[in-house]
């Protein structure tokens, strides 16, 4: 087994592909936590997004025929974002309006994401584990051999964009204020509840996008449990990245690299695949245990606000 240039190039592109869903989700988690709401439901929301994208595209193909519809994958992406936002809205209502324990409410959504897809899949396809393959996947942009899904570019573009939104706009200032000191923000006339709803729903939209990328960008179908802990890893990356877009970029690249390495090493005789698969998870535990500087979460995160 020689590690030649082809190996490293494949590793590089694989890293970009693996980073994309993590980056999208971690940026979403950042908006939610900056507003003061923990959202570990992102794991489940990725699944809901993936399911929506795959089923919507497949159903439209079922009625219109398979023939190439360039707009169709984008419809899948939009519907995944919509559903992601709606599921996040459930979490938001329960944890903001009804002041539920945010982790329990999110866990409920994650549990739902384990069961509900099977019901939908059984309804449409009579099989509980995966959807039918779709013909219209997201296109690939870029030079031959190095082409990437548009969502990859989008994810990396979102880093400066969300930095600008969070730190250079009044909206971002309000969002951060609500997460740091809701009482003070309220005194200044900021609607705490509305900012938190926006933060949580935004995180759901981004996680839904990540799901769409998995289902119709990375693969061409929904597979049960396909998020494989990405939502949780993203949250770890967000903590590691200190709730800052740039930090999140680097930490998700680290996790993406770990996953890519695991994939590239599979089938080689360097390390057994079953163990290598656990690599990103081990990295997460190590990172959380403090092989990182001190990081301080938004002061009011996880605490329901009462007027």
């Amino acid at each position: 087994m020689n590690l030649d240039a082809a190996f490293w190039i494949a590793l590089f592109f694989s890293t970009l592909r693996q980073t994309t869903p993590l980056l999208l989700t971690a940026l979403g988690g950042m908006f939610s936590e900056r507003s003061g709401v923990v959202n570990i439901a992102l794991e489940g929301i990725i699944l809901f997004g993936a399911l929506t994208a795959a089923v919507v595209v497949e159903r439209v193909e079922h009625t219109l025929g398979p023939g190439p519809h360039p707009w169709l994958p984008w419809l899948g992406v939009l519907s995944a974002m919509l559903v992601g936002g709606l599921v996040a809205l459930v979490h938001a209502v329960v944890s903001i309006k009804y002041r539920a324990d945010q982790i329990i409410s999110a866990t409920a959504i994650n549990l739902l994401a384990l069961g509900a897809p099977s019901l939908v899949l059984t309804y449409f396809y009579g099989n509980a584990t995966n959807s039918k393959e779709v013909a219209n996947r997201l296109p690939l942009w870029g030079p031959e051999g190095f082409a990437l899904s548009p969502l990859v570019y989008l994810a990396f573009l979102l880093v400066p964009l969300s930095w600008w939104v969070l730190f250079k706009t009044p909206f971002g200032l309000r969002l951060r204020a609500v997460g740091e000191h809701p009482e003070a923000a309220d005194t200044l006339g900021i609607n705490v509840y509305r900012m938190r709803y926006i933060g949580v729903v935004l995180s759901g939209i981004l996680a839904g996008l990540a799901g769409a990328y998995l289902a119709i960008g990375f693969l061409n179908q929904f597979v049960r449990g396909m998020s494989a802990g990405m939502g949780f890893i993203s949250l770890a990356a967000m903590i590691f990245g200190k709730w800052h877009p740039l930090g999140i970029l680097f930490s998700t690249l680290l996790f993406g690299f770990a996953s890519a390495l695991a994939i590239q090493l599979q089938g080689t005789e360097i390390l057994p695949a079953v163990l290598v698969q656990a690599f990103p998870y081990v990295v997460t535990v190590l990172v959380l245990a403090g092989f990182m500087g001190k990081s301080r979460p938004p002061a009011a995160v996880g605490r329901p606000y009462e007027k």
């Binding site: 866990t107 384990l114 509900a116 802990g229 005789e269 698969q277 535990v285 959380l288």
Partner: protein
């Protein structure tokens, strides 16, 4: 002034309930005396409508319906009127009890009508017969009346608020079931053709009713009953594993991983340690608890030492445990940087599974416990009896009482083992259920939880840490150490759940297999929340989910709805409990609950002073 307002509200609530009842009486079937395997049936309703799907035997007489229907109408009218008379609560109590009687009458008359047809026949002609939603609506309305009557008599609200630990989970279960009904209605087309809107509604409502009847059918069917206990066994243990964490203010989502480690340890001891049964079996069980405990203690330590949040760490450790588990049993040859590592654990063949557990290390099947050698044994009942006597009849410190109880239990077990019992034969339906001694282990774990959390200093500290970590620390709790210990115990409980599968052969074989359903660790979250982190609650919640999971199999077989319906119900229950059942705040907030109780208390006192 307040009284009149209350009475008006009561009248409106009764009227609303009555309206729904009337609608359901009209739209839903009252009884389904005959049903095909796919759920289609003959729907009986007193509004003169039979939907013929399948045929009724010619001898069936449905005259009993009018015997029930007209009294029911009178009863409904009475409730509506009585709600507006002065002092309505007591009258509504009476009406509620009368309604229960009416439901009982319906049930008995229906059973009689079926029995009358089945009487002469060699094999019963009507086999799948059930009451319909119309009859159940009577029952529900009666309970609703009783609830309203209690609520609107003095101190009623305080009565409910004090029992919020029961009210919130049950109300959430009700809400989840309603939503589940909608899901069923959307997912499954009507089994027959409907000519009118009413017929369509009737078919839909019957479909939903039948789904829930199947889900709860293990309650009335012996083998289903045992099966529900079988499925409850691991749920009790993982539920306790999560509940213990909650009590200590920690969220243990790591039960699946802890269960896997427990399974691996149980397999290692059970397969490879030779020795007599009295030594190997306890060691294998202990190994499972220890391994699960250590795997749980790891995130506890990471939190105590580095402040790493236990939620993400326990989840990550689940994935790592799953990898380790596959590594051990999916192949015996691995390449590391060109070197080859040989492992001895995988049994030859395609499937990823370990070697069989040695017979000495197996947890006995329930028939061996209840009736070893085909003869009913008094060992367990006597052990239970003497154990309880030993505990309750001594007047010493708790430690002494528990010890005496245990000793007396052991004596009872030995003595009972020697008593001769009558021969019994359970039949293949019951003996094929793989319920095993792990169920007793789960019950013991419930007892352990109760004594540790509510009767010891350690448990007191644990609860203090959960309720107010800073106050606990100030009060002298070493919170870091306590955190690790709590997670260790929680992990040990989850690890024990694996003994049910590996040592007890809970699924099909006495092995560690790839099909080990470690996701019951996640179900433990639902169990703990539904059971409100009390041992009794966890036991009952686990049993409830055991029933639903068993019934889910029938739903899948007969109606073709995925078994995951139960998983969705579980998730909805968790969501609704998290939201406090969408009930007013005094049901979720202890301070406001106390306020309500005090207010009602003083109002009651005021009324008592006014009356004489």
């Amino acid at each position: 002034m307040g009284v009149w307002k209350d009475r008006k509200r009561l009248g409106i609530l009764v009227a609303l309930g009555g309206g729904v009842l009337l609608l359901l009486w009209y739209l839903a079937p009252w009884a389904v005396p005959h049903r095909l395997f796919g759920g289609e049936g003959v729907l009986l309703s007193p509004f003169g409508h039979h939907l013929p799907q399948g045929t009724l035997p010619p001898g069936y007489r449905d005259g009993w319906l009018s015997w029930v229907f007209y009294p029911s109408l009178v009863w409904l009218a009475l409730t509506l009127v009585l709600a507006w008379t002065p002092k309505p609560a007591r009258k509504l109590y009476l009406m509620g009890i009368l309604g229960l009687g009416l439901f009982l009458l319906t049930y008995l008359l229906f059973q009689a009508s079926v029995a009358q047809v089945n009487a002469g026949a060699e094999r019963p002609i009507l086999r799948r017969y059930t009451l319909g939603l119309g009859s159940y609506a009577t029952l529900a309305y009666s309970l609703y009346l009783l609830l309203l009557a209690r609520l609107f008599s003095p101190g009623g609200l305080a009565f409910l608020v004090r029992r919020r630990g029961v009210v919130v989970p049950l109300f959430s279960l009700l809400l989840a079931s309603l939503l589940g009904g909608v899901i069923v209605a959307v997912m499954k087309a009507n089994p027959g053709e409907a000519k009118t809107l009413r017929e369509a509604a009737m078919l839909k409502l019957d479909l939903i009713t039948y789904t829930y009847q199947l889900l709860y059918s293990p309650l009335v069917n012996p083998s289903g009953f045992l099966q529900s206990l079988l499925l409850a066994t691991p749920l009790i243990l993982t539920g306790l594993a999560v509940a213990l964490g909650f009590r200590g203010g920690l969220f243990n989502i790591g039960a699946p991983g802890q269960l896997i480690l427990g399974g691996i340890a149980a397999m290692l001891v059970g397969v490879y340690l030779p020795g007599p049964r009295w030594l190997v079996l306890p060691l294998a069980i202990l190994a499972a608890a220890l391994a699960g405990g250590l795997w749980g203690a790891l995130p506890g330590w990471l939190k105590a030492r580095f402040g790493a949040h236990e939620v993400i760490n326990t989840i990550m450790l689940n994935y790592i445990a799953a990898s380790l588990f596959l590594f051990l049993i999916s192949s015996n040859e691995y390449k590391f940087f060109g070197y080859t590592l040989y492992l001895p654990f995988k049994y030859p063949g395609y499937e990823a599974r370990s070697y069989e557990i040695r017979p000495e290390a197996r947890i006995p099947h329930w028939t061996e416990l209840v009736a070893p050698g085909g003869e009913l044994s008094f060992a367990l009942p006597l052990a239970l009896l003497l154990g309880l006597l030993g505990y309750f009849l001594t007047r010493k410190s708790l430690g002494h009482r528990v010890l005496l109880g245990l000793l007396a239990g052991m004596v009872g077990y030995l003595v009972g083992g020697f008593l001769p019992g009558p021969a019994v034969n359970f039949g293949p339906d019951l003996t094929s259920v793989r319920l095993n001694g792990a169920f007793l282990l789960a019950l013991l774990a419930l007892l352990f939880f109760h004594f540790y959390v509510f009767r010891t200093v350690g448990g007191y500290e644990l609860r203090a840490m959960g309720l107010a970590p800073k106050a606990a620390e100030y009060g002298g709790v070493l919170s870091g150490r306590k955190m690790v210990l709590t997670m260790f115990l929680a992990g040990a409980l989850a690890g024990l759940a694996a003994t049910h599968y590996v040592l007890g052969g809970g699924i099909d074989e006495y092995r560690l297999k790839q099909s080990l359903p470690y996701s019951v660790g996640f179900d433990g979250i639902a169990v703990a929340l539904m059971g409100q982190n009390t041992p009794l609650g966890v036991g009952l919640a686990a049993w409830l989910f055991g029933i639903l999971l068993t019934g889910g199999l029938q739903v899948n077989l007969q109606l073709g709805i995925s078994r995951e319906l139960v998983a969705v119900l579980q998730a909805l229950i968790v969501l609704f409990i998290a939201a406090g059942g969408f009930l007013p705040r005094y049901f979720t907030d202890p301070l406001r609950a106390a306020e309500v109780e005090l207010r009602e208390e003083s109002r009651k006192r005021g009324e008592r002073e006014e009356t004489p």
